[in-house]
């Protein structure tokens, strides 16, 4: 048994220690908001926050994250009211929506680090998170909106 700290709750999982965090979240804990896209760290759909910083959850094992704070899309806010989530709704960002949990948690981490990001900051922080539906324009718009309205 390894106990993970997910969204502020201790969650024991009975998995081999080399299991990627992604599969522990999705298949052992039924936290399916975090998505599988490639399994090799090149799409960003599986992005979660580890001690507040974005990581590809397919690229870290449960052994590595033991004792550290994992935040998934389900834990970003109790009711979907995080400023980034509100901005996502206001700008109608999602199309299919599959990449969006990864985009949203990465955007939240960016804003926590840089409350007023420039376009270049957004490119840097968000670049590897693929969206096949082409929501990039709106992601940029929504991050700027969240930056502006974040405090309110």
């Amino acid at each position: 048994m390894i106990t993970l700290m997910v969204n502020g709750t201790p969650r024991p999982v009975d998995l081999s220690p080399d299991t990627p965090l992604l599969w522990a979240l999705r298949d052992a804990l039924s936290l399916t908001g975090t998505k599988f896209g490639c399994g090799i760290g090149s799409c960003g759909s599986c992005t979660v926050l580890l001690d507040g910083a974005p990581v590809r959850s397919c690229q870290v094992t449960v052994a590595e994250v033991k004792g550290r704070k994992v935040t998934t899309i389900e834990g970003l806010s109790p009711d979907g009211s995080h400023p980034v989530q509100r901005a996502w709704i206001a700008d109608e960002v999602p199309q299919c929506g599959y990449c969006q949990p990864g985009q949203i948690v990465a955007a939240a981490a960016l804003l926590a680090r840089k409350p007023r990001p420039t376009d270049a900051d957004i490119d840097d922080a968000m670049d590897g998170i693929l969206c096949r539906c082409g929501t990039y324009d709106r992601i940029r718009r929504a991050i700027h909106r969240a930056a502006k309205e974040g405090g309110r």
Partner: protein
Amino acid sequence: MTGTEMGRRTFLEIAGAAGLWLAASPLRVAAAGPEAAAAGFQPSAWLNVDPKGLVTIWVGKSEMGQGSYTGMAVLVAEELEADWKAIRVVQADANARYGRMSTGGSSSVRGSWEPLRKAGAAAREMLVSAAAARWGVDPASCSAAKGEVLHAASGRRLGFGEVALDAASLPVPEKPVLKDPRDFTLIGKAVPRLDTPPKSRGAAVFGIDVRVPGMLHAVVARPPALEGKVARFDAAKALAVPGVRKVVEVPSGVAVLADTTWAALRGREALGAVFDAGPNGALDSAAIARLLVSAPLEPAPARNEGDVEAALSSAARKLSATYTLPFLAHAAMEPLNCTARVDGNGAELWAATQSPQRARTEVATALGISEDKVTVHVTYMGGGFGRRLYPDFPVEAALVAKAAGVPVQVTWSRGDDFRGDLFRPCGRNELRAGLDARGNLVAWHHVVRSPSLSRQSSGNRSAPPGTLEGAVGFPYRAGAVRIEAAVPTVGVRIGAWRSVYSSQNAFPEESFIDELAHAAGKDPLAFRRSLLPADHPLQAVLSLAAEKSGWGKKLPKGVARGIACHSCFGSHVAEVAEVSLVKGAIRVRRVVVAVSCGTALNPDSVAQQMEGSVVYGLSAALRGEITFAKGGAEQANFPDQDPLHISEMPRVETHIVPSTAAPGGIGEPGLPPIAPAVANALFALTGKRLRSLPFKLS
């Protein structure tokens, strides 16, 4: 929470919190399906009004990102005069009662425009009649709005729920009167999408998120080449991996079932499956290119007007060019997957499918049971783009569940999803044209060489090939026109890919027209407009795109514009791309899209689809290419096939030609013009004509 636990109180709580009830969980959808809501007034398959006034609308189209979940509900609610803030929308299970559920060909709004509005209008007329009878007044003196019937003269009102049971006993009107478009309150408005809040919370349930009690996670080892077979494998080695529970053989390969997808993947590696390559085991891209060149022309051209050879021989200028296009993968963000439970009572599937009815039929056939024993629940889908029209993944999941005797979720790894795709066909286009001394087009000859989807799927080599879609409708005036196909048979699975053959044929057509414009010494926009009939719908989108993009105005040094247009799926689109080179790489800075799609059911959804089509088309044009070796695709994950990133995203501006005509498609028509618009801009920038996709500058 399961569906049965989800009582009315919960519904109201959720409605109160979010404004709307969302069928976020397919398990919930299943239990709250048609049977559960049958009490009350249900004049058609599409809606129910219960005695408490709760309006339920069933959506028979799949939500893959294009907004149909909201759009379909809007069509019913608009005519019903339901209170949009108090409706429940449920994704329908596969059933003939919903008509054709297949979601493809940009057909959802087009095909539902009349029937869904009529269903809403019929129900509204019945509710009004029931209320009028209650009051003893003429129904014509009553109206409906926001879930109520009103009698203006007396100020009386009755909620839909209060007259629902009365309405249920009335005959369904055959010719209900539809609203005047000027009175629309939802259609044509940017109604917020119902699926946006759950998708922003991670609460939307995609196929891959379904969790059925007792379910195992599976992956399947499949032969890489079409018609390959499993030769041998070592089940014991797979079973030795911690978490692996079962290994079963199915017609498509060997399935490894485990507690987690990760353990199943590890088990599959341990399996050491070896395959017989089969008849296509030597196929590679060079061989496929030879097949394209050597395929004979079809016996008769699909279009033959005037004498092309005579016109060419007397033309002042003759041009010819060959354009080539690669195979492409769909690569939706959600890899293919399906969840299935099969037991003595039948089969239940949860699938992100664009074709639930076809999946149901083919699963029944594969299991040897009758269709009424198969339930197919449709989940949200993480992109479709045509791949999810094909029923191979639900059929396989059902067979794995049956063989293993447990509920199972079969997940395709990204490599499985790439290699097991039904690819957008490759193409080779041979074009010839002639100009007279004044630069008028006097001859146009287009040969499309591409494998045929319809022939491969039907096995009928004389079926109409369909490969000329997007080419045969050549819209420009030319003295003589010949358009014809050569149709090679290629041992690679092919499938519909966003905008299908228009995704291939618009590139050569709109690039070659640009070549002709330059050869004639004319402005590419003016050249196109002079060749189109004055009332052609492309005229309006060309002039709108030109105006909004500042066509003809000066651009900064190192930036150039290109224009292209195309009509497909009932809509017309023109795009102007602004392109520059950044460190030798192509950079598309801005794309202005003008679209004529009849009534824009939701203008913001139209804009989303144009943005999405531009990105999907650009990803393909810049880097999309599947090559083959030993019968299998050589690309297996995203670094090999790198779609557009946010840092490369052009600013996309969408402008809609206003209209009250019936809607055209929006999911696909934005795609075909982007590759030629960029190619034409690159020519303007560099003087180099790129005739192959993906673009390679050197």
